[in-house]
Assembly symmetry: C2
């Protein structure tokens, strides 16, 4: 009989958001009249920009004509036109990435989850806590030792390295999911120096970079000196351009990034990952790549930036409500997430129930992201403007009682 990978049995049975969905469903069934506002899952609500839709339709048309039909992509790493568009995007905020160091994927989650395949199971993995559950779960699936760096109220939810701790792989996310906190250039330099001293690799998730507004907050780890010798960066069009249902992202593995195998030979991480992808991935749908490339055109940037500003305005509404109520929070400024301290010392799930029952607003309990999330709560700015205003009015009414 086949043995199963028993590491799976040690995981939480359900992904966090499945548990939330179940709770909301139960509440709705008990209160069918309730007008629920969902600010839990980090999904966007604004439609795809018109020029992006048109580019996808043009790509679809090309697939219907023999002369322009596209079959398998030669490399599976993305068409040059898209890799060059992504390289151009990096250049627009001052970061030089050769197009060949970029691989196109079907969203950051796949690469973020699958990258573990190319590393040995004996690595020690350092993850900031709280964190996006995928970092933890995918390493536990391989039976790896995971240790945590605490992000908490004292450090403004921006964990810094502890020189006494040794590790091999580090996950960082800035702007952070769930806390909305960010690393400055100086802070990232400390992480890079720490990684280099430990010969560790940083897996840097920049999925929310498009929400950065402050100047000293880098939009890529590669904006910081020394990163190319120790970091992999993963980004996505999900939040940048509303691609949660379109599915396209990209991973940057600098050609400078090499490690030593046990026989002392140098191994390129990009080549190792390419070999993995060659056997397990066949590239992204051509019309989706056409749509993605349109995001990086002048018109595409104009249209997608308008959506981001829409969400940023929601975040402002949310932040000012919390300011008014005197509730402590991080995020909202360089991030679509607001991470707030549950009022009256409520626990995360307690506040979840309280808010659901009394304001019919759904958020995400911080405890679902790790131990340092207990007592905290995530709200997203990805909703409809009027509904966000309405949710904040309900919260204000409830909490200022």
């Amino acid at each position: 009989m086949p043995s199963i990978n028993e590491n799976f049995l040690k995981l939480e049975k359900n992904y966090l958001f499945i548990n939330i969905a179940k709770k909301v469903k139960a509440f709705t069934e008990a209160h069918p009249e309730a007008d629920i506002i969902r600010m839990g899952i980090g999904d966007v609500t604004q439609p795809i920009a018109k020029c992006v839709v048109e580019a996808m339709k043009k790509g679809a048309d090309e697939m219907g004509v023999k002369e322009t039909f596209k079959g398998y992509e030669d490399s599976g790493a993305g068409y040059d036109f898209l890799k060059e568009a992504v390289a151009g995007y990096y250049k627009s905020f001052g970061v030089d990435i050769p197009a060949d160091d970029i691989r196109i994927n079907d969203g950051a989650k796949s690469d973020c989850g699958n990258i573990v395949d190319i590393f040995g199971d004996d690595n020690v993995v350092l993850i900031t806590d709280p964190a996006y559950p995928v970092y933890v779960d995918t390493n536990l699936m391989n039976g790896r030792k995971v240790i945590y760096a605490d992000s908490n109220e004292e450090n403004n939810f921006a964990a810094m390295p502890d020189e006494n701790v040794k590790c091999d792989i580090i996950y960082l996310c800035s702007p952070n999911n769930p806390t909305g906190s960010v690393y400055t250039k100086e802070q990232l330099k400390v992480w890079i120096d720490y990684a280099k001293k430990n010969n560790a690799i940083i897996i840097y998730d920049s999925a929310y970079e498009a929400f950065i507004t402050e100047k000293d907050v880098p939009r890529s780890i590669f904006a910081v000196e020394g990163a190319k010798e120790c970091a992999i960066e993963m980004c996505s069009l999900s939040k940048t351009a509303g691609f949660t249902g379109m599915r396209c992202g990209y991973t940057v593995i600098p050609h400078e990034l090499v490690v030593k195998a046990s026989d002392g030979s140098e191994v390129s991480i990009a080549q190792l990952w390419g070999r993995r992808e060659g056997s397990k991935f066949n590239g992204v749908s051509y019309p989706v790549q056409c749509a993605a490339a349109a995001v990086f055109t002048e018109e595409g940037q104009k249209q997608t930036r308008a959506n981001i500003e829409y969400y940023q305005n929601n975040a402002k509404v949310m932040a000012s409500t919390l300011d008014e109520l005197g509730i402590k929070y991080t995020g909202g400024k360089n991030s679509p997430y607001i991470w707030l301290k549950c009022p009256n010392n409520m626990g995360s799930w307690e506040f979840f129930d309280y808010l659901l029952e009394n304001a019919n607003v759904v958020g995400t309990p911080g405890a679902g992201f790790g131990k340092n999330g207990e007592g905290w709560f995530r709200l997203t700015a990805f909703g409809d403007k009027d509904r966000t205003v309405e949710a904040m009015e309900r919260i204000k009414k409830l909490l200022s009682k």
Copy 2:
């Protein structure tokens, strides 16, 4: 320093088709005037059916309007409309699959490569040889023991189980890539009985099922009694509907399929796979799913069947040329592949070079698919009709000298 997964270093450095591409490139550079006909890689050439293109464009339009915009898919397993369309397709050839046992993916390669994640590394994996390199490589990446069942001239390239051999996981592919051979219902029943006796799971690749013409050749392993308790089936729209560049497929894991964990508890394979996908995959692009669903409409079936018949006619032209030349082959009848014995006792790569140099025709050396492929050669029927005729004329001229 992070250790790498050193199993990667034991793999062939390049995927087979990369090596072929390099050889062809070198030849083209030396002979820029040569008019090369490519019959090597199994990629389709006919455009996507019009109604499928229109469905994708409609899906793209919906993404551009707030009221119809789609973000994350709730389950990541595919929209109900598509799962039900696939279930209906199965029903059209007499196989009952509940829609909930189907997961939509971005092509069979991903699931076929990633399914290894949910099994223990101590499993013994049985693969028929020759085989699609992905089965072997993805198991070697996890350090698993791979054993082979020989498909060869004696058994008409349809390996059958050896009762004296024990294994936990079995890969079968029918119609077979690369040999074009097929299993009859009776032969599959023998494999199913063998799997049940060994408590093994069969991973069944039916990517070429749409090419089956003979009545006693099942289009799904689930057409055979007992399969639901021991088999997973993977299929794709790549060859059925020309989706190699569109990227959509599906995996069927029957809810009946359970194994025992080491503590004796029963574990559902579908649930285990769902947990894996929940952390590492976010579903297929909505407009791609719209396109895929259109394939299974009456009009979609009519249009895509016309493409399959086009390729089947190519296969007939190829088969009759080989018949004329007295060259032995399998496939061509229920398959887009023709697997021929290299003439004059040439080795696979020797014949590759001979054909490339003297007829400017590119095929795939059988040796690239495993030891039993040595001395054999794969040609695909996925090309343009006129070019296929031209290639066969060149081969006839060359080999009847």
